[in-house]
C-alpha cells in the first residue's frame, strides 16, 4: 500500500469525492478530488461505488476506503440531486437500536445495512486469511451466566 486514506468526503458542485490521504513514502498529506461522472438522481449508488473502487486511476488511493463508505457518499450525492437536504441524508444513516427495521422500505433498509457493514467488514474473517478457520467453535456455556436484562419485562410472553 502506498497511500493511507485519512478522510473521505463529498462535494456537491461539481459532484466529486474528496479524499485526504497520506503518501506513505514521503509522509506528505494530500488532497485528491475525484469527479463523479455520469451519476444522476436515478443512478445505482451500489454500482457507482463499485466502479469507483475498481477505477484504474483511483483504486490505489481508495484501497482502505470501504465500499460501504463510498456507497454512502454516493447516496448523499444522489439525495442532493433529488432535492433532499444533507441533514436528511445523515439522519437516514443513523442507527437507532430501538427502531423496528421491519417497517422500512428497501432503500431505507439498505442504508441501515450499509451502516452496519462498517463493523461487519472490520470484524470479518475472509476465507483467504491465513488464520481463517471454517468451522470455528467457541463454547460460551457458563455455569453462572448473568440473567439478561432483556428478559426482565414481560416474562410471560415467552
Amino acid at each position: 500500500m502506498r497511500f493511507q486514506a485519512k478522510r473521505c468526503g463529498v462535494q456537491f458542485s461539481p459532484p466529486s469525492i474528496i479524499l485526504i490521504y497520506q503518501q506513505l513514502d514521503t509522509n506528505k498529506v494530500r488532497k485528491r478530488i475525484i469527479p463523479v461522472r455520469n451519476f444522476s438522481k436515478y443512478s445505482d449508488y451500489n454500482m457507482a461505488a463499485e466502479r469507483l473502487k475498481n477505477h484504474p486511476r483511483h483504486k490505489d488511493y481508495l484501497e482502505n476506503v470501504s465500499q460501504g463508505q463510498l456507497e454512502k457518499l454516493h447516496i448523499i450525492l444522489r439525495d442532493h440531486l433529488q432535492g433532499f437536504s444533507l441533514e436528511h441524508s445523515l439522519a437516514s444513516f443513523h442507527l437507532d437500536t430501538d427502531e423496528d427495521l421491519n417497517k422500512l422500505g428497501d432503500d431505507e433498509l439498505a442504508r441501515k445495512k450499509g451502516q452496519m457493514d462498517e463493523l461487519f467488514e472490520k470484524n470479518r474473517k475472509h476465507k483467504d486469511d491465513p488464520d481463517f478457520v471454517y468451522d470455528l467453535e467457541v463454547d460460551f456455556s457458563k455455569p453462572t451466566a448473568e440473567r439478561c436484562s432483556w428478559d426482565e419485562e414481560s416474562e410471560d410472553d415467552f
Binding site: T97, D98, E99, D100, L101, N102, K103, L104, D106, L109, K112, K113, M116, L119, F120, N123, R124, K125, K127, F132, V133, Y134, D135, L136, E137, V138, F140, K142, A145, E146, R147, C148, W150, D151, S154, D157, F158
Partner: protein, 224 residues
C-alpha cells in the same frame, strides 16, 4: 394439511416429501444477519436463486449426514413486514427452523416471540433453534443468558457471521436435526394425538350435557 397456501408456482415443493430432501428456513427481523449467516456457512459454494416477489432467496447445499447424502434447501426469508403474506409458503413443508436475532438490538430479541408463535401455528413440531448473531460486536453479551426458548427447550447459539464463530456448528446441528425429524416426523403423531384428544373432549362434553339435563330435571322436579 396446509392445502394450497404454501404453494409458490415457481417452486416445486413436492420434492420435500422425498427422503433425500430437507427444507430449512431462516427467520427473524430485518438485518439481523440471516443472509450473512447462510453465506458464511456456504462460502461461495452455490449461486442462490432469487425470488424477489416472494422476498426469498434459495440456497442449495449437499450434506453428508451419517452415511446418507442429503440435499438441503435453505430458505432465506426477508424480515420486512410487507412480505408478511408470504410467510405460509416459507413454513410449508419445512423440516427445521433457524430463528435469528441481533445481540445489538433488543427489539429483534423481543420479536422472536412473534416469529415463534407464527411458526408454531404452521409447524407445531419441527426442530427449531435460537441464534444470537453479531457477538463480534460485543463479546460481553456471551456472558449473559437469554431465556427465550429455554422453556420450549430450544437450543441456543452465540454466533458471528462476521468472524464465523459457531456458524458451521449451528448449521450442521440443524441439518442433522432436520434429517432426524424427517425420518421420524412427530407432527403426524401430533395430529393423531390431537384427534384423539378432541374425540375425548367431545365425549366429555356429551357427558357434561347429560349431567346438565339431569340437573334441570332435578330443578323441575323440585319446583313441582
Amino acid at each position: 394439511m396446509a392445502g394450497d397456501v404454501g404453494s409458490i408456482p415457481e417452486l416445486d415443493q413436492q420434492k420435500y416429501d422425498s427422503d433425500q430432501q430437507v427444507k430449512i428456513i431462516c427467520l427473524g427481523d430485518s438485518a439481523v444477519g440471516k443472509s450473512k449467516l447462510i453465506e458464511r456457512f456456504l462460502l461461495d459454494e452455490y449461486r442462490p436463486q432469487q425470488l424477489s416477489t416472494y422476498a426469498l432467496t434459495l440456497y442449495k447445499h449437499v450434506a453428508d449426514v451419517g452415511n446418507k447424502t442429503v440435499a438441503v434447501d435453505f430458505w432465506d426469508t426477508a424480515g420486512q413486514e410487507r412480505f408478511q403474506s408470504m410467510h405460509p409458503s416459507y413454513y410449508h413443508k419445512a423440516h427445521a427452523c433457524i430463528m435469528v436475532f441481533d445481540v445489538q438490538r433488543k427489539i429483534t430479541y423481543k420479536n422472536l416471540a412473534n416469529w415463534y408463535k407464527e411458526l408454531r401455528e404452521y409447524r407445531p413440531e419441527i426442530p427449531c433453534c435460537v441464534v444470537a448473531n453479531k457477538i463480534d460486536a460485543d463479546l460481553k453479551v456471551t456472558q449473559r443468558s437469554f431465556n427465550f426458548g429455554k422453556k420450549q427447550g430450544l437450543p441456543f447459539y452465540f454466533v458471528s457471521a462476521a468472524d464465523g464463530t459457531n456458524v458451521v456448528k449451528m448449521f450442521r446441528d440443524m441439518i442433522k436435526r432436520a434429517v432426524d425429524y424427517k425420518q421420524n416426523p412427530s407432527d403426524f403423531m401430533d395430529e393423531v394425538l390431537q384427534e384423539l384428544e378432541s374425540f375425548q373432549l367431545e365425549k366429555m362434553e356429551e357427558n357434561a350435557e347429560a349431567e346438565d339435563e339431569e340437573q334441570k330435571s332435578d330443578q323441575i322436579l323440585s319446583l313441582q
